[in-house]
């Protein structure tokens, strides 16, 4: 058990230390470690965690970490994952706050970060393509996905409202089969 918790802590520590930009930028590394390397869960579960994390209070990256940690090893796992995620931040930010003034204005830092952000964009594009393949399976999904993309690019509507609306639309689209299950349970 302790070994598993340590594994969770170090895994999320590593992810926290190399993710630039938070929640969505973490997705490519998360997919690699959780889905491909360790096969702890599938693409759909990760998408569900992102959807829920977007609609819940708190930092998205932390919420996703807690979902995965809890799924692996219950409440201790949830805590280990969250602490792993924040530890590198605490170390790096403290060092900068106390010792490196004007860190962000250093031209070398800026060049390196400019390169990283282009790379992060390419990594996110790659992740979106595989999510599209897994999560968008029919006309309903295509319309919903493109509508969400357009609404979040062109309007200021809160993503929380969008997420809630999509959950309701999903329920609406599947209303018949939900109703059938209710009747079955009633019998």
């Amino acid at each position: 058990m302790l070994h598993d918790l340590l594994t969770l802590y170090t895994l999320f520590f590593r992810m926290g230390a190399v993710t630039f930009g938070g929640g969505y930028a973490m997705l490519p590394i998360l997919r690699r470690e959780i889905i491909e390397n360790r096969q702890w869960m599938d693409e759909e579960s990760i998408m569900d965690y992102y959807a829920l994390s977007q609609g819940l209070p708190g930092i998205i990256a932390i919420n996703v970490s807690v979902f995965i940690g809890y799924k692996r090893r219950g409440i201790p796992g949830a805590i280990a994952a969250a602490l792993g995620m924040v530890s590198p931040c605490i170390i790096i930010i403290s060092v900068i706050a106390f010792f490196l003034s004007n860190f962000q204005d250093n031209p070398y830092v800026q060049h390196a970060l400019a390169g990283i952000s282009v790379c992060v964009a390419a990594l996110i594009l790659d992740a979106v393509i595989s999510m599209w393949k897994k999560g968008v399976k029919d006309g309903f999904g295509i319309v919903l996905c493109l509508a969400m993309l357009a609404l979040s690019v062109f309007t200021e509507i809160s993503p929380i409202l969008l997420v809630i609306a999509c959950a309701l639309l999903g329920i609406g689209a599947k209303w018949k089969s939900i109703h059938a299950q209710k009747e079955e349970n009633g019998k």
Partner: protein, 187 residues
């Protein structure tokens, strides 16, 4: 007791800020005014540093503010306060998801959520592309459309995407290479 106060203030932020790291910003601005712990000018530095260091932006901002208010342990306490609500809420949501596993209603909600989250992540990717490869502010100044497009970075983006697809290496490898290339080409 400054540590307790910090913990309590960031606990409230973690509980009420829905939608990820940047959603905590208005709370941090209000906290500066209501407590006088730090100035609005510090917030600008906080954003710049949080965006240029690894880790979730929301956590970086909490750590930075905590550090500046009450030293290293101030940073630790603020961060712990901010993630505590996430841990509690996500564990509760996970527990109720387990209870409703196999429910057609929950399945139907996710039927809508999966395409939605794909669209939202695609939008996040587009905004990274826009910020990292285009200079629309320069275009507005000069009026020359070519000034808005950073061809060097777009070529790098295309090459990075091909490399990601072809070699399937760990994302960390690409991020590290991108930082080096950014430095060498003075992005």
């Amino acid at each position: 007791m400054i540590y307790l106060q910090l913990f309590w203030e960031f606990l409230k932020i973690g509980l009420f800020a829905v939608g990820g790291g940047m959603a905590t910003l208005p709370f941090l601005q209000r906290l500066a005014d209501s407590t006088g712990w730090y100035s609005q000018a510090l917030i600008t530095d906080m954003i710049a540093i949080s965006e240029s260091t690894p880790g979730p932006i929301g956590i970086n901002m909490a750590t930075y503010v905590g550090c500046n208010v009450a030293g290293f342990f101030g940073g630790v306490v603020a961060t712990m306060g901010e993630i505590l609500p996430s841990i509690v809420i996500v564990v509760l949501v996970s527990k109720s998801l387990e209870r409703f596993r196999g429910s057609k209603l929950v399945d139907a909600a996710f039927y809508g959520l999966r395409p939605a989250v794909t669209g939202l992540i695609a939008a996040a990717g587009l905004s990274v592309i826009k910020v990292s490869m285009f200079h629309f502010d320069l275009y507005e100044k000069t009026g020359a459309l070519l000034d808005a497009i950073d061809f060097k970075k777009i070529i790098f983006f295309a090459l990075a995407f091909v490399a990601i697809k072809k070699f399937k290496l760990h994302p960390i490898v690409y991020i590290a290479c991108a930082a080096v290339i950014g430095l060498m080409l003075s992005f």
